[in-house]
């Protein structure tokens, strides 16, 4: 009974991890830049969601669309202003730029909001559905449904639209994409924007569940990277599978071994996967893990 509850909780948790990581998957998979500031974009999204709640009384789910648009714009600006100029620079520059961005954003948030933990208070926040003795938290369920919807929409977008196909082309083979006339620079802008928009959505979904504080990014960014690399970077949906996997493993490890070891267990599995199949479990195979360093 407890095992079933654990697995269900793990799946819901995995949905949250997947939601946070899908944006990173897009950026890592297309632009091939390691965005160390990914966690900070999540933090910004949550603060925006909180601001809409505190100043305009908007429920996080209602303001989600605004947060998504704002984060999309932020992504485009970041790509154009910060990433594009350094795409052909040495590896250390690429690492330090996003690392620096991460530190700047964290401390900016600390300056503006100071270190307090902010959270929203909504009527359904604490409600749970009880299904045959299994407790399912409503906000987590909503987040899970949203991530499924996103996966479906993203799949349709990437498969059936011209732009979607162009994104996949750039992700697969950048040089060839140039050759067939795809405006790669514009695709990068779009991909980064979509990536941060996805993180924006994640932030809105997370606001009823977690509190936001300036260094929140740090506790999620490592998991996001693990999820994306474990799931397979060449696969646009690797983050989804990876997230669910990590969520379930973490929850089961916490109950079967001890909560102090749950992170250890999934990191060990992560290392083993990398030794056997470095490109990730669901990747397209060798080469797709290339990051532009």
């Amino acid at each position: 009974m407890m095992i079933i509850q654990t697995i269900i909780s793990g799946i819901l948790l995995g949905g949250i991890y997947a939601l946070i990581s899908m944006g990173l998957n897009m950026i890592l998979g297309v632009v091939r830049i390691i965005n160390f500031a990914h966690g900070e974009f999540l933090m910004i999204a949550m603060y925006l969601s909180f601001i809409f709640y505190a100043w305009a009384g908007l429920d996080p789910y209602a303001s989600a669309i605004l947060v998504v648009v704002l984060l999309f714009l932020l992504g485009i600006v970041t790509q154009k202003g910060l990433i594009e100029p350094i795409l052909d620079k040495p590896a250390s520059t690429k690492i330090f730029v996003t690392l620096g961005l991460s530190i700047v954003l964290q401390n900016l948030a600390l300056m503006i909001f100071n270190a307090n933990y902010m959270s929203v208070s909504t009527p359904y926040q604490m409600s749970t559905i009880n299904l045959f003795g299994i407790a399912i938290s409503v906000p987590r369920l909503i987040a899970f449904i949203v991530v499924i919807a996103i996966v479906v929409l993203l799949y349709l977008f990437l498969q059936n639209t011209m732009v979607g196909r162009a994104i996949r082309a750039v992700s697969m083979q950048r040089q060839a994409a140039y050759l067939v006339g795809i405006n790669v620079k514009r695709i990068y802008l779009l991909a980064f924007g979509i990536g941060t928009a996805l993180v924006g959505l994640a932030g809105s979904m997370l606001m009823p569940i977690y509190s936001v504080y300036p260094t929140l990014g740090a506790s999620f960014v490592l998991i996001a990277f693990v999820v994306v690399v474990l799931g397979g970077m060449g696969n646009m949906f690797g983050a989804f599978y990876g997230g669910l996997l990590i969520g379930v493993i973490e929850s089961l490890a916490g109950v079967l071994f001890s909560p102090g070891l749950k992170e250890v267990v999934y990191f060990i599995i992560f290392i083993l996967v990398l030794l056997v199949k470095p490109s990730g479990i669901f990747s397209r195979g060798k080469g797709s893990e290339e990051v532009g360093l």
Binding site: M2, Q5, T6, S9, G10, L13, N107, L110, N114, A115, N116, Y117, S119, S121, M126, T128, N130, A135, S137, R140, I209, Y210, S211, P214, T215, A218, S219, F220, I223, E250, S251, A253, G254, V255, S258, P259, G260, K262, E263
Partner: protein
């Protein structure tokens, strides 16, 4: 080539200039004290809150003429973590020439900075960090005013023996205890001490759940606790995990039994704001808080007024109060020593005798000469009642009776 030489020359000049500045703890009309607190980073909230207590004590002293007419000046540093604490303490002692330091809020920071103090012959006054290992080394350079972590465990067990047994109608041996703790030295020290003491008293410790405070999911902890069915849970948490435990217990349908927090996250207003009604009924063992019997804590109300005037908001936690009281002891020691010489200040400190119930925190002062630990300070048990943290035990400091059965 020429550019290289200019660059090297410029670097040399700036190094020499940087090395030239330097001040000792005592100049003609100033007394300099170094501060080692985390004011940015993860611990910023309570690090800066602790620092405010120190700042207010100094401000108050300076308004009353300083020490022997000399102005007290704080030389600050930002010790985000143990590494930074080590380098900042080294900088304050060696470069700035200051040999009286106060700190640290965090035990990790304290441990690192006090090592530096010991090696360099400085005197380090600990005003807030609780890990026992800070004073267990019996360093002559360390003096601590606040109670150590082990006293939290001692008081927890006392509270269970005195109050909880009566409430539950069980004898001490019949109580089933569970401990959930974050796994840094703060959580581990209190948890291990509590487990040892509980077992000495004959209580059954049904489970001990350690977890990383940076976790963003504690459902496994809750499920394990639910399975173990304890009568009392002792929790040692920072704020993130405190919020998670309360929220996820509710999500997973686990009705928490008698729940004893140990300071950290459970003391914070942000905790109550985040979890709302879920906080009500939660007990919390911690340094003195503001809803307290002020007959036992003279000076507390004046402190709160001073704080609100200076910072435009109510104190965010009890840390500022403890650091304020501790800083006043520091200043008293310097005054009674008549100098900032480390030996003399330490000697003066060892001679200080203050009774319980006469300071702003209600703590007395009497330092153990071997370890430097104040033997007359202790944490008190508070409880969240109707959204406010009020002191409920021991009887001397309590404002109201503990509430059970929420």
């Amino acid at each position: 080539m020429k550019r290289n030489w200019l660059l090297i020359l410029g670097l040399c000049i700036s190094l020499v200039l940087a090395g030239c500045s330097g001040s000792s703890s005592e100049s003609a009309d100033e007394i300099k004290i170094g501060t080692v607190f985390p004011v940015t980073g993860n611990l910023a909230l309570l690090g800066s809150e602790s620092y405010r207590g120190v700042e207010l004590a100094v401000k108050e002293a300076n308004e009353n003429g300083g020490i022997d007419g000399k102005k007290i000046v704080l030389e600050n540093s930002d010790a985000v973590d143990a590494d930074a604490a080590q380098s900042e303490a080294t900088r304050l002692i060696n470069k700035e020439g200051i040999n009286l330091l106060v700190g640290s809020y965090s035990s990790g920071i304290s441990y690192a900075a006090t090592e530096v103090a010991e090696r360099n012959g400085a005197l380090y006054w600990e005003l807030g960090a609780v890990a026992d290992n800070v004073t267990d080394r019996n360093y002559q350079s360390v003096i601590r005013v606040n109670p150590p972590a082990s006293s939290f465990s001692v008081q927890h067990i006392e509270f269970i023996k005195e109050v909880v047994t009566k409430q539950l109608g069980k004898s001490t041996e019949e109580i089933k205890l569970a401990i959930a703790h974050e796994d840094s030295s703060y959580g581990t020290t209190i948890a291990e001490e509590a487990k040892k003491l509980a077992e000495t008293e004959g209580m059954e410790v049904v489970t001990v759940q350690g977890y990383a405070s940076s976790s963003n999911d504690l459902s496994s902890v809750i499920l394990n606790l639910k399975e173990a069915q304890p009568d009392v849970i002792i929790a040692v948490s920072y704020i993130n995990d405190a919020i998670l435990i309360s929220k996820q217990a509710e999500e997973l349908g686990y009705d928490l039994p008698v729940f004893l927090g140990s300071g950290g996250g459970h003391t914070l207003v942000d905790y109550q704001k985040s979890v709302g009604d879920l906080a009500n009924g939660i007990f919390n063992m911690d340094f003195p808080q503001y809803a307290i019997n002020t007959e036992y804590t003279p000076g507390l109300e004046d402190f709160v007024a001073m704080y609100e005037e200076e910072y435009g908001e109510a104190p965010r936690s009890g840390h500022s109060l403890s650091n304020y009281m501790g800083m006043k002891v520091v200043l008293q020691a310097i005054e009674e020593a008549g100098s900032t010489d480390v030996e003399k200040v330490r000697e003066a400190a060892m001679n200080i005798k203050i009774e319980k119930g006469t300071t702003a925190t209600g703590w007395g002062v009497e330092f153990d000469p071997a370890s430097g630990q104040n033997t007359l300070s202790e944490p008190y048990m508070g409880q969240w009642i109707d959204g406010e943290l009020v002191t409920v035990w021991p009887a001397d400091v309590s404002v109201t009776e503990p509430v059970f059965g929420e």
